[in-house]
């Protein structure tokens, strides 16, 4: 039995040009193009020939980047938007957590808003009365329920909205990224309630960017891209495929930025002949990076590679990384140290080391060469990181110091915190039972 059945559904949005925006009733009458002006200038396809079946009693996740059509899909299922083509079939009562508290009137009290909102969402007057206490208790607003809603904080507003929508007791619950605003205590409560829904074998359609939660609570996941379903199936697999796609896109983005930085550097080099060599080093535009040193020895190029030797900028915590430096010495040197440092976006040094600290005695450096620092496992948490590379004397005198000139991204679905992800495992004595949700 299917709770939701979409058959070749398309939704085309009309996009009106800027000229149309200023179209007025007067000009429409004057120019006599009254009816033509109601037609759109351009069409945007948000959902494109999509077919989808969601079985009754399943929790179904939808992921995808912004603008991939997720919200439109939800609106189509909720009936707020009508499909341009295809059919939408829904079995059972729907409640949509698309925007919480939509329709609250700021001037009147929370109590009256609960009544009105409940009726808007399809409850009868008696049902609202019966569920009123439960709604207020869940929202933790007992003290404020008689105050006008305009005096509520955004958190209170959201809690009340969620509480009403969840108490409508639908057969199908549509959730669109609404848990993002709750505080640390309320979000688990909401998830708990959604869990309760799952246990009662109700159908949930869950749209979220929180991939960890999606992977955890959903039975099946669809990944949307450009208005179509790119992939559908087992959560972990789909989330991974999506992440890989995102990583590839980030990679592209990094390359584009690098190209832009390179052409900029070439321009700078052209303008300043004397420092010609300095300009050849690749740098990324931005404010926090600096480079200093007299360049008796110079780092000409820095490349990040993955374990297979491919140039990359997005890594997983489990990945290895190789920092490859192209070095050139202007004159033969006997006192030199190579070092690297990894900073997170807060500017905290996550790890730093150099050849001197690791007891490599410098012997000689002349001409050109390569230095590679190989990291077996990054073990960093999700985020953007900045890289320092340097060649300097043992006493610290810098030949060439690149501060935060390079960046890379660590992409992870886990929400662990801190600076580094220490390699670890868990063990429990037989009396303590936990179930791994890793699928």
């Amino acid at each position: 039995m299917y709770a939701i059945e979409l058959e070749g559904v398309s939704r085309v949005y009309q996009k009106y040009s800027a000229r149309h925006r200023f179209q007025t009733f007067k000009s429409a009458i004057v120019r006599g193009d009254f009816f033509r002006s109601l037609k759109a200038d351009e069409l945007v396809t948000a959902v494109d020939g999509l077919s989808l079946r969601v079985e009754k009693g399943t929790t179904f996740g939808v992921i995808g980047s912004n603008g991939s059509g997720k919200s439109t899909l939800l609106k189509l299922i909720a009936g707020i938007a009508k499909p341009t083509a295809g059919t939408v079939g829904v079995e059972g009562k729907i409640s949509a957590l698309i925007e919480l508290g939509a329709g609250f009137h700021p001037e009147i009290s929370g109590r009256e808003n609960v009544a009105i909102n409940g009726i808007m969402l399809g409850l009868t007057k008696r049902e609202v009365q019966r569920k009123f206490d439960e709604i207020v208790r869940f929202a933790e607003l007992e003290e404020f329920i008689d105050a006008p809603v305009k005096t509520y904080s955004s958190g209170m507003y959201m809690r009340l909205g969620f509480s009403i929508a969840i108490n409508v007791n639908p057969d199908i619950l549509l959730v669109d990224e609404v848990l993002a605003v709750g505080d640390a205590a309320f979000v688990p409560k909401c998830l708990d309630r959604i869990d309760d829904f799952r246990r009662r074998k109700k159908t949930i359609l869950f749209v979220s960017h929180d991939l960890a939660t999606v992977a955890k609570i959903c039975d099946r996941v669809a990944w949307m891209k450009g208005g179509r379903i790119q992939m559908i199936g087992e959560p972990k697999r789909v989330v991974d495929a999506y992440l890989q796609d995102v990583a590839a896109a980030q990679e592209e983005d990094f390359k584009a930025r690098k190209r832009a930085a390179r052409s900029e550097a070439e321009k700078a080099a052209g303008a300043e002949e004397t420092s010609g060599e300095a300009g050849t080093a690749e740098t990324e535009a931005g404010g926090r990076e600096k480079r200093w040193g007299k360049r008796e020895a110079e780092i000409r190029k820095v490349v990040l590679r993955d374990a297979r030797g491919e140039e990359k900028h997005v890594f997983h915590p489990e990945d290895g990384m190789a920092v490859e430096l192209d070095v050139a010495a202007r004159e033969p040197l006997t006192d030199f140290v190579f070092g690297i440092g990894i900073f997170n976006s807060l500017g905290t040094l996550c790890y730093g080391t150099n050849t001197h600290l690791e007891d490599w005695e410098p012997v000689s450096l002349s001409g050109e060469g390569k230095v590679v620092c190989r990291i077996d496992r990054l073990n960093l948490i999700n985020g953007t990181y900045y890289l320092d590379v340097a060649v300097h004397r043992r006493d610290g005198y810098p030949y060439d110091y690149h501060h935060n000139l390079y960046s890379f991204f660590v992409s992870s679905t886990r929400r662990d915190e801190g600076i580094a992800r220490l390699p670890h495992g868990w063990e429990f004595s037989p009396g303590i039972r936990l179930k791994s949700q890793e699928k």
Binding site: S37, G79, A96, H105, I116
Partner: protein, 272 residues
């Protein structure tokens, strides 16, 4: 016609929502005021007092078509202004109602025509709250009630259908043509003077320019306001034929307004 019937059934299904929203509208209007709900009575009362002072004591207009005292003129005018206020504020508010409630249309599933219906209905209630003041002043100003006052609900029904038809049309079109709001506020002034509120069709000067009178009779609001005058001021039978035609026109406007609304409905969630 089939569409209309289906739409009306849908509307009927949402009557609880309409009732609740009308209640909210009325509550929110006077929320935060000291006198609260009494403003519904106080506003028309103050208006009536102003008319009485200005026309009864200062201007002192006298026309046999209306009555032999200036007090009667104040009553006559109040009798027309009250339903006019219902009509004009409904129309002006309808122009905005879809935009103001844009978040509802975008996020919650319910028929959008509920909103203009709520606007016209809550203004109807405000009109009904003012009605006792009018009824109170009728005997004070020296008029007496006749059995024809019982036709008042008929006139109110005609006006409701007419106002709602216009409200549906305006609310739907304003989504695409925002300047209808401004056109409308000017139009309402013009329309006010084209309706026998501050004058009467029976006035002698009007009889000398028959073409003006003909033009005025083409205005549906003329016959609606005349209906109120018949029921409450003159105490005579309403003009069945004229009001009947007006009702027909109102029904056509309602049908046309609903049809336009229906045609543009799908564009609302994107445009408001």
């Amino acid at each position: 016609m089939k569409r209309l019937a289906a739409n009306l059934r849908e509307l009927h299904k949402h009557r609880l929502l309409i009732r609740t929203l009308v209640g909210r509208e009325l509550k929110a209007r006077y929320r935060g005021t000291i006198l609260g709900f009494f403003w519904s009575f106080l506003n028309p009362l103050l208006l009536m007092i102003v008319y009485t002072v200005v026309f009864g004591l200062i201007l002192n207009p006298r026309d046999l078509a209306i009555g032999d005292t200036a007090w009667l003129y104040a009553l006559y005018m109040f009798c027309g202004v009250l339903p006019w206020t219902w009509f004009s504020s409904s129309s002006l508010e309808s122009a905005n109602v879809l935009m103001i409630n844009g978040n509802l249309i975008k996020k919650i599933l319910f028929p959008a025509e509920v909103l203009p219906v709520v606007t016209v209905s809550s203004n109807l209630l405000n009109f009904l709250f003012g009605l006792p003041i009018l009824l109170f002043f009728v005997p004070i100003m020296g008029k007496s009630f006749t059995v024809y006052a019982l036709f008042l609900p008929v006139v109110i029904l005609v006006q409701y259908v007419f106002t709602l038809g216009l409200g549906l049309l305006i609310s739907a079109l304003t989504v695409h043509f925002r300047d209808i709001k401004d056109v409308l506020s000017n139009l309402m002034t013009f329309w006010f003077f084209s309706t026998p509120i501050i004058y009467s069709l029976k006035m002698e000067a009007l009889q000398r320019v028959p073409w003006v009178k003909t033009l005025l009779t083409l205005n549906p609001m003329t016959h609606i306001v005349e209906g109120y005058h018949s029921c409450l001021f003159y105490g005579e039978l309403i003009h069945w034929k004229r009001l009947g035609v007006t009702f027909l026109v109102s029904l056509i406007l309602f049908w046309a307004g609903y049809a336009v609304f229906d045609r543009l409905r799908d564009s609302f969630p994107e445009e408001v």
